[in-house]
Amino acid sequence: MTDNDGSRDAVVIERNFDAPVDLIWKMWTDPEHFKAWYGPDGATIPVAKMDVRVGGTRLVCMEMQFPNGPMQMWFTGEYREVVENERLVYTESMSDEHGNVASPAEMGMPEGHPTTTEVRVELQDVGGRTQMVMTHAGIPTDSPGAAGWTMAFDKFALHLQAQGNRSS
């Protein structure tokens, strides 16, 4: 079983795009471009406010359609590093429509989901194409239970194993 250090929880995805770095940079920093790709699986992005400078805030609304009506989820955060066409780092937390941070538990997420996560985008020009590395990581200092889903599932797995060992 992995240890419960939340800082190790991260998604790292590398992608290569047949487009110049400045266009990929706009995909992340120009609200109109951002809205066009950020909502997967039928979700739309009705609101994307981005003050792209260090210390600037962002507010994004994701809307999903359900048979009984639309559901909105709001996310807020702050830009931490802004190096045009090279490096973008921002934080992300669930919030209300005014950007007041909400705890993941309030939003129906499992206990232990980090309150604040960090998204890091690194771009590199490769002969007119772009190599992009995106890292989405939990920020343990902001949330004592930042081990995230690990908490719930590790607990469950350990519980099952303990019971199994006891009776065998």
């Binding site: 991260a10 989405h136 099952l160």
Partner: protein
């Protein structure tokens, strides 16, 4: 990099766990293997209903069934639980889908740009 097969597996694991009867079955199996009849005992459910739950758990790889006679005892396999144990792994398919969409959108944007250049 994740594959469609990994995604499918994660979906099945989560789907299997999203039910209190199935979680109770897993908890019972953690104490040792059991037959379908034994598993059905604590629940006010018909055998076919319990069998359906067990099939879901089997598909998710959480339960394996012995080949022994007609009893075919069920046993727990906790391995798939480790794969879904981080919130981060839950985000991975979301990001992959987003970047697929970015790729498609980029194609559109670049086609438009070329058309405009041609017009100039």
């Amino acid at each position: 990099m994740t594959t469609a097969i990994d995604d499918q597996r994660l979906n099945e694991t989560f789907g299997a766990l999203a039910n209190s009867t199935r979680r109770a079955i897993l908890a019972r199996l953690a104490e040792g293997s059991a037959t379908v009849n034994e598993l059905a005992e604590p629940f006010e459910m018909t055998l076919p209903a319990i069998s359906k739950h067990i099939k879901v758990l089997e598909r998710a790889g959480l339960v394996v069934r012995g080949q022994r006679a007609q009893y075919r005892p069920c046993a727990l396999d906790a391995a798939p639980l480790h794969e879904v144990s981080t919130w981060a792994e839950q985000y991975r398919p979301v990001w992959e889908a987003r970047f697929d969409q970015m790729d498609n959108y980029l194609t559109q944007v670049r086609r438009q740009q070329r058309t405009h250049e041609h017009d100039d």
